[in-house]
C-alpha cells in the first residue's frame, strides 16, 4: 500500500517534470518516504494490536491459564478515550459473574437439599430472631400462621416453665443457654391430631438465629403412656369401688353390732378394716407412681401443721399397729412450725413409712414417730427397732420395684412405697433419707420445708410445687431428662 502511494507520487513528480526518473533526489525522496511509512505503519500496527493483545491477556487471566503478563488494567489512561476501558470492564464483570454463577448454584442446591430434608423429617425446627419472631420453621414444626401472616408456635407449656419465660431469663442472664422440655403438646388433650414433643431450645445471644428450637415428635411413645395412665385410672376406679363398700359396711356393721360382738370378734373386725384400708393405700401408691413416672404428679401445697397431716391417717395407723401388735407412739412438739405440704400426699408418705416400720419389725416392737426443726426444714423421723438393713441395701432402697433379697422372701410388698414416697417428698422440695443397722432397726427421715421459708415462692406459683421445684434441686429438674 505504502509502496503504491510512493510509486504514484514518484510518477506524478516525473510526469510533472519536477524530478527526472534518473535524478538522485527522486530516489532519495522515495527511499525517505518508504522508511517513514514503514516506521509509521509499524507504530500503527502496534497501537492497533494493543487492545487485541490486552483482550487476549484479559481472557487468559480470566480463564485462569498460567501467564507471566500482568492482567490489563481497565483504568489505564490509554484506554480512557477509546471505549476500550468500558469493553474491558464489561469483560471483567462478565467474568466475575461467570465465576459467581457456579458458586451460587452450588449454595442454592445445598440449601434446597437441606430445606427439603428439613421438611421431610418428622422433627420440627424453628428459628427465632432477636425479637422472637419466627425466622424459619419447617413443615413438622407446630406453627400457626394468623391472618396477618404472622407465625407463632402452638406449643402448650406446662405451668410457668414456658419458652418465653426461659427466653426472658436468657436475655437477662445468658450468652449461651440450652433448655429441654419434655412431653409438650401442641393441642389440648381432647383435641384431634395432637402431637407431643420433646422441645430442645438453644440460645446464642446476638446471632441472626438467636434461638433455635428443635422439636422431637414423641407422640407415639407418650400417647401409649397416656393410654396406660387412663388404664390405671380406670383400673383404680374399678378397684376402689369394692373397697369403698367393704370399708363402709365394716364401719357401719362394727357400729351396729358393737353390743353383740365378743372381744375376739372386735379384733377380727379390726383386721378386716386394717386390710381394707391398706388396700386403698396401695391403690394410691400405684396411681401416684404412674402419675409420677409420667410426670403428671403435682402436689398442691398449703400451710399445714404436721399434726393435722398425720390426723388424716392417724386412726388408721393406730388401728394397723394395734392389729399387728406394734407399739406406735407419735409425738410432735407443740411449737413445731407449720410446713408447706400437700396434706393428702404427705399423709401417704407417712403411711408408707409407718407401714414399712410395721412390716420390718417384730411383734411388740416400738415404732416412734417424732419431728424436729432442722434448718429450713421439719425433719420427720419414723424409727423402728426391727430387722434393719445392711449398708449395701440402703443405697438401692428408694429405687422402683427394689426389694432386698431377704425381704423378697419374707415380707410381701410391691417395692414402690419408698420410691413414690421419695418422689412425693422431693416434689415438696424436701428430701428423704435412712439410717439403718442390721438387726437393730431403721430410721427413715423426711425433710419437709417450713412454710415460712417458702411462703413467698408458693404464693408466686399459685401454691403448686413449680416454684420450689425450679429453684430447689427438685425431681422435675433432675429427672425429666431420662424419665418419660
Amino acid at each position: 500500500m505504502n509502496i503504491i502511494i510512493i510509486v504514484a507520487i514518484a510518477t506524478i513528480l516525473i510526469l510533472t517534470h519536477v524530478f527526472k526518473i534518473s535524478s538522485i533526489e527522486l530516489w532519495s525522496l522515495m527511499i525517505g518516504l518508504l522508511v517513514v511509512s514503514i516506521v509509521s505503519s509499524l507504530f500503527s500496527v502496534a497501537a492497533a494490536n494493543r487492545p487485541t493483545q490486552d483482550l487476549l491477556n484479559a481472557i487468559i487471566h480470566i480463564s485462569g491459564e498460567p501467564t507471566a503478563t500482568p492482567p490489563p488494567n481497565p483504568n489505564d489512561k490509554r484506554y480512557a478515550g477509546t471505549g476500550f476501558q468500558a469493553a474491558l470492564q464489561t469483560l471483567y464483570e462478565l467474568a466475575s459473574h461467570d465465576k459467581a454463577i457456579p458458586e451460587t448454584s452450588t449454595v442454592s442446591e445445598t440449601t434446597s437439599i437441606i430445606e427439603s430434608a428439613l421438611n421431610q423429617t418428622t422433627s420440627g425446627l424453628v428459628v427465632l430472631d432477636h425479637d422472637r419472631n419466627i425466622a424459619y420453621s419447617n413443615h413438622a414444626a407446630p406453627v400457626h400462621i394468623d391472618q396477618n401472616n404472622k407465625k407463632s408456635l402452638t406449643l402448650l407449656f406446662n405451668g410457668t416453665d414456658t419458652l418465653d419465660a426461659w427466653l426472658d431469663t436468657c436475655e437477662k442472664e445468658s450468652v449461651h443457654a440450652e433448655h429441654i422440655w419434655t412431653r409438650i403438646g401442641d393441642k389440648l388433650p381432647e383435641e384431634e391430631d395432637r402431637h407431643l414433643f420433646d422441645v430442645i431450645a438453644s440460645y446464642e445471644k446476638g446471632t441472626k438465629s438467636e434461638t433455635v428450637i428443635t422439636l422431637i415428635d414423641r407422640t407415639d411413645i407418650y400417647n401409649v403412656n397416656e393410654q396406660e395412665l387412663d388404664f390405671i385410672a380406670f383400673a383404680a376406679h374399678e378397684l376402689r369401688g369394692p373397697i369403698t363398700v367393704i370399708r363402709g359396711y365394716l364401719d357401719v356393721l362394727e357400729d351396729e353390732l358393737s353390743d353383740v360382738l365378743k372381744d375376739d370378734q372386735h379384733e377380727l373386725f379390726r383386721r378386716l378394716t386394717v386390710s381394707a384400708n391398706r388396700l386403698s393405700g396401695y391403690i394410691n401408691n400405684i396411681l401416684n407412681t404412674s402419675r409420677y413416672d409420667r410426670r403428671h404428679l403435682s402436689v398442691h401445697m398449703s400451710e399445714e401443721s404436721l399434726a393435722s397431716v398425720y390426723a388424716i391417717i392417724g386412726d388408721d395407723m393406730s388401728l394397723r399397729a394395734k392389729a399387728q401388735h406394734r407399739l406406735l407412739s407419735v409425738s410432735f412438739p407443740a411449737d413445731l412450725p407449720t410446713i408447706a405440704a400437700d396434706p393428702a400426699s404427705l399423709s401417704e408418705v407417712l403411711g408408707n413409712l409407718i407401714d414399712n416400720a410395721i412390716k420390718y419389725s417384730n411383734e411388740g416392737g416400738a415404732i416412734n414417730v417424732t419431728a424436729e426443726v432442722k434448718g429450713d426444714f421439719v425433719e420427720i423421723d419414723v424409727e423402728d427397732h426391727g430387722i434393719g438393713m445392711p449398708g449395701n441395701v440402703v443405697g438401692n432402697l428408694f429405687q422402683k420395684f427394689y426389694r432386698s433379697h431377704r425381704s423378697r422372701e419374707t415380707v410381701a410388698g410391691t417395692g414402690i412405697g419408698l420410691y413414690i414416697s421419695k418422689a412425693i417428698v422431693e416434689s415438696h422440695g424436701g428430701s428423704i433419707s435412712v439410717r439403718s443397722e442390721e438387726g437393730k432397726g431403721s430410721t427413715f427421715s423426711a425433710f419437709i420445708p417450713i412454710y415460712a421459708t417458702v411462703a413467698d415462692k408458693l404464693q408466686a406459683s399459685d401454691n403448686s410445687n413449680q416454684g420450689l421445684i425450679e429453684h430447689g434441686d427438685g425431681w422435675i429438674k433432675n429427672h425429666s431428662m431420662y424419665r418419660g
Binding site: 383404680a236 376406679h237 376402689r240 373397697i243 363398700v245 363402709g248 364401719d251 357401719v252
Partner: protein, 126 residues
Amino acid sequence: MAIHTILCIEDDRFIGEMYVRSLKKAGYEVDWVVDGNDGLITARNKSYDLMLLDVMLPERRGTEILDALRGGAQDLIPNTKVIVLTNFEQDDESRISMQKHADAYLIKAEITPKRLIEIIHQLDAA
C-alpha cells in the same frame, strides 16, 4: 342453715345404699338418683341443703352436672353445698375445676360413711 336434705347422685347400688342408709340413720332426709340426667333434673327441681355428687355417672358425668349448675353466670343451686365423691382418678385440671365449684372433694375409698357424716357436720359448722 343446718344441713337436713341431701341429694345423693351415685350409680353404684352398693355404695349408694350404704350412704343412704347411714345418712338416714343419722337423721338426714335423703333422695338418691342413679344417673346423671336424673341427677341434674332433680337438683334443678328441688332445693337441697347438700348434694353428694359422683363423677363417673351414666348419661351425664358429674363434671357436666356441676358445670351446668354452677358453671354459668348464675349459680343455679345457691343454697346447696356440694361434696364431690369419686373413686375415679381425674387429671389435675378437671379435679381443680370441680373443686372450684364444690365444698369438698373426696375419694370414696378413703372415707367411710361415719367419716362422711363428720365432714357434713364440719360443713354445717363452717
